[in-house]
């Protein structure tokens, strides 16, 4: 029986592609897509704190990967400030979306007469990488604080095009009021201060 005094079991990153623990949460943090890439109705939607399925689409270059994943950060291992630094320390253009791993894992696209239902989405560990300062064309393992929490939402690009649309739609529907915010300059300044003092 839970007493409330238990120490939470520390989370250790798993190997690439293995599931992150249940009951955890992740954040999706810009700058992809940057705010400047949205039109007016997109900005209006963000101002209401609402997500839409287009926010979880992949770029054409990402679609060429064997199994594209949506990059996210496990909140148990990466603070928003650390994630902000790791994704490029962009002063503006930062959208933060909170997602609950258990709810993401419920999502699947139904099948049709000719296609089976898709596997459920998963959130899996993924080694964070960064551009090699000696060779901008190469990526190397990330080592900065908070990098251990990097993971990816897996399975969004499976099935037919109709099923992929359904997966994006249902993932969007897991975003609750308050889960999506556009970070203010003040919040980002706090991030800057936090990572500078760390």
């Amino acid at each position: 029986m839970a007493t409330g005094d238990e120490q939470a079991t520390p989370i250790s990153p798993g190997s690439d592609g293995t599931p992150v623990p249940a009951g955890t949460a992740v954040i999706r943090l810009g700058p992809k897509p940057p705010l400047k890439n949205l039109n007016d109705p997109g900005h209006a939607k963000l101002a209401l704190g609402q997500a839409w399925e287009g926010l979880f689409a992949f770029s054409e270059s990402e679609r060429k990967l064997a199994s594209p994943r949506l990059s996210v950060w496990l909140t148990a291992l990466t603070t928003p400030a650390q994630a902000w630094l790791l994704v490029g320390a962009n002063w503006k253009n930062v959208i933060l979306v909170n997602l609950r791993v258990d709810q993401v894992r419920i999502v699947f696209a139904p099948g049709t007469a000719s296609t089976p239902e898709t596997p459920r989405l998963d959130v899996v560990w993924e080694q964070a990488t960064t551009v090699d300062s000696n060779d901008p064309l190469q990526r190397i393992s990330e080592t900065r604080p908070g990098c251990q929490g990097h993971c990816g939402i897996d399975g969004l690009y499976r099935g037919t095009k109709a099923q992929r649309g359904k997966l994006r739609e249902l993932l969007t529907d897991t975003v609750q009021p308050g889960d999506l915010v556009v970070l203010t300059d003040e919040q980002i300044a706090q991030f800057q201060a936090a990572v500078t003092s760390a």
Binding site: N39, P41, K45, K161, G165, E169
Partner: protein
């Protein structure tokens, strides 16, 4: 009225730079109010900016403009969709009124556009590819035509 010069070319044809970015569109008669006209103009400026800023190739911006023109021709008064431009493409459009979701994508090169429609109430959904030269797919047109109708599950005046 619809002018032949504004008909969407086959996707294999090469669109001249700025082909879609000229003067008033022959679809402007589909704009329902001055406020809509401003929104439409702002959206056109956005599409041009995505091309000029090299977020997407010019042909993606032009395709997205063509997709939008087809949609608002089909449904006069249709609100400007939410648009997201991803680096290198696509430009992704979403209309979502709480019940229906319509997504259209303009991709680079000779790739066809992609479509997705969904009805949260019935659970029905569908999607696929389409060529601009063939117009919007029938399921997209059918959903767009229902998009502005009153229904009990969400607002009827634009994106959710």
């Amino acid at each position: 009225m619809f002018d032949v010069a504004w008909q969407v070319p086959p996707r294999t044809s090469r669109m001249p730079a700025g082909w879609y970015f000229g003067d008033a569109s022959p679809f402007d008669e589909a704009v329902a109010s001055p406020a809509d006209a401003v929104a439409v103009e702002r959206h056109h400026e956005y599409l041009v900016r995505m091309s000029l800023d090299k977020v997407v190739p010019a042909e993606v911006s032009a395709k997205a403009r063509a997709v939008w023109e087809l949609a608002r021709k089909a449904v006069p008064g249709l609100p400007v969709p939410i648009a997201v431009a991803y680096d290198g493409g696509p430009i992704h459009y979403t209309w979502d009124n709480g019940r229906q979701v319509i997504a259209l994508e303009a991709l680079s090169g000779n790739q066809p556009c992609e479509w997705y429609v969904s009805d949260r109430q019935s659970g029905q959904f569908d999607g696929g590819d389409f060529d601009l030269s063939s117009g919007l797919p029938e399921p997209v047109l059918a959903t767009l035509n229902e998009y502005l109708l009153p229904h009990p599950t969400g607002p009827t005046d634009g994106n959710r």
